[in-house]
Amino acid sequence: MRARLAIGLGAVLAYAPVAVAARPELADEATFGLDGGAVLVHYATTGPDAVPPDDADDSGVPDFVEEVARTAEEALAHFATSGFRRPLGDGALGGDARLDLYLRDLSAADGNAVADHCDETGCAGHAIAENDYAGYAYPSRTEAIRSVVPHELFHLVQFAYTLDQPATWAEGTAVWAVEHLYGDGNSDFERFLPAFLGRTYRPFERAVGGFGDAYPYGAALWPYFLAHRFGVSAIVAAWEGCVTSPFLDALDAVLAERDASLATAWIEFTRINAFTGAHAIPSSYPGAERWVAAPREPALEATATVHVEGLSARYVPITLDAPMQLTVSPGGAITVAAWVADAAGAGVELLPAGDGLAAPLEPGAYTLVLTGLSRGTLTTPVELALGPREEPPVDDEDDAGGCAVSPISSPASGLVPWIPLVLVPLRRRRARHPGGSQRRPVSQSM
């Protein structure tokens, strides 16, 4: 069973393993489906599972049920149009060949998806959603229905590929699917974002177990980023790849076909995430100023130790009133990338130096984005240090190989618009300064 977490209600059930379960039994059950539709809504007319009886259009079917049915059809059509597989048919379970959506009085979780049976092509299942959302924190009934019904139906889409992907991908893409469907017409994505953006230090690649943690739902930001960066087709292809591979491996293969990789995409992702909340800039995610900011570590004064584990990110403020050398030294078997950016998003990559990474910095205010790139590592100390510059700043005019990095307000000619800043400085710097010398002070780019 995949259960949807109910936000703000002290929910405890988050993501139980998918189970094969019997269909719900509803008191005085009635059913409704739109003409020619693919979904049959089952609802109770009496008892605790009963839906709100309002029937403003005198159709004989409660308005609530009609809205659920319309939402379900809209969602399924959107998922198919986007390129995803259709949920597998369940035969005659539930009365006919249509997908079955049951409305029940749920507690804590506000919906779930359940597998009925599986074969070599995937699993067929049914969905369950809350019967009235009474006591839930949604601002409106429509908001609740739009948040839950498409989410659970997208789990049935996932079942057509595999049941075995971790919650960060299954729940994350389900929340993303709702966002992709409704955009500004629904805020489920935004509600869950803090659970992810507020915990960027967590190892994303690890499985999630236990109860009540919304992180896998907030992880919708990852497919949100991927879809906009590489197209919705990348998400579709990744789910196809999940039939035979774990999702990160599937993603790596999909991104390789798009001249990228899991590592490069993750680096971009963690750097863009630096610019949310109070740190948002116009070129960040739309509306990012309304999101929570990624957590900042204590400001780096001289030396500090931060812990990095797995695919993750740490954000460290740095303010300098004199030129300094920043070094980043992992203390264990982990792979990291590091980038220092100013508040406008202009930055410089730290390059290999000794056992770690380093870059010269000019006076100014920065954020160090420390990206964890290993999978399955334990929390590992990474030493940060500010020290004397190892080389004098390079003169602008005489630096034939230097990089003048600057943010732009309009697309730069000759550059692919989607090449983010976070990658550009490194390419230039590596090409120009393979020996680590003649590095251009970052302040000259700002």
Binding site: G10, L13, Y15, P17, S107, A109, H180, L181, G183, R202, R206, A207, V208, G209, G210, F211, G212, D213, Y215, S261, I272, S283, P286, E309, V328, P330, G331, I334, T335, V336, A337, A338, A346, E349, L350, G356, L373, S374, G376, L378, T379, G402, A404, V405, S406, I408, S409, P411, A412, L415, P417, I419, P420, L421, V424, P425, L426, R427, R428, R430
Partner: protein, 239 residues
Amino acid sequence: MKRWTLLAALVATAACGDDDSNNPGPDAMTEVDAGADAPSGCDPATVLPSSYRPIAMVSTGEVDVTTVNDVTSGTLDATAGGTASSADRPYLYVDLRDGVRVDVDDLAARSSTEWDIALKRSSLRVNGGDSGPGNRRLAVVPAASLAEVTTAPTDGYTTDDFATDDCMLVTIPGGEPMSAFGEWYEYNLETHQLAPKPEVYVIERNNGSRTAFRIVSYYGDEAMPMRGAFYRVEWKHLP
């Protein structure tokens, strides 16, 4: 659908030339191999789910117990900051011999022989097998009360085993790492509450000492009866 113009404006201009790198990110990564794998080639802790991974922090959960007539009883606060925060909080480590918390973080616990059991939310572990070097083993005894268990079983002891030989995670149905405690609770799908099974757990140390341990309630905070992971427990040492 939302559209974003994101990042197009994040592109930087640069007065740089001859750039032939197309994959710059990983080139600038650094990898330092300063670690050592476990003999099996897999450190079991690396397969733990995010919610139960080692955290470099010492638990502040209280061990509040008293001993009367050789039975120790009280509460163990394994709430770990609540459901939303527990993934980033450590286990509570308990020495049942002295009835005290052992102040080690999750990383140090991996080399500590001081603790008997560890608790975080609904995850219970024993210091042995995949969980630690303490050589503790545990036997599950069907019993509704501590009094029913007067002697230790002669067999049936197991150790924590949440990582397979090929480094795959093994969990109980709720997602907790498989430990010698096994599936120690019943989960009510309607109320979403946990109820301990009628079981007593006998923990055996490598010096031969044994302790019978029982979970009375997962909701042991009388002031906040819905507060999960605030264990009410009792235990006694067996001959």
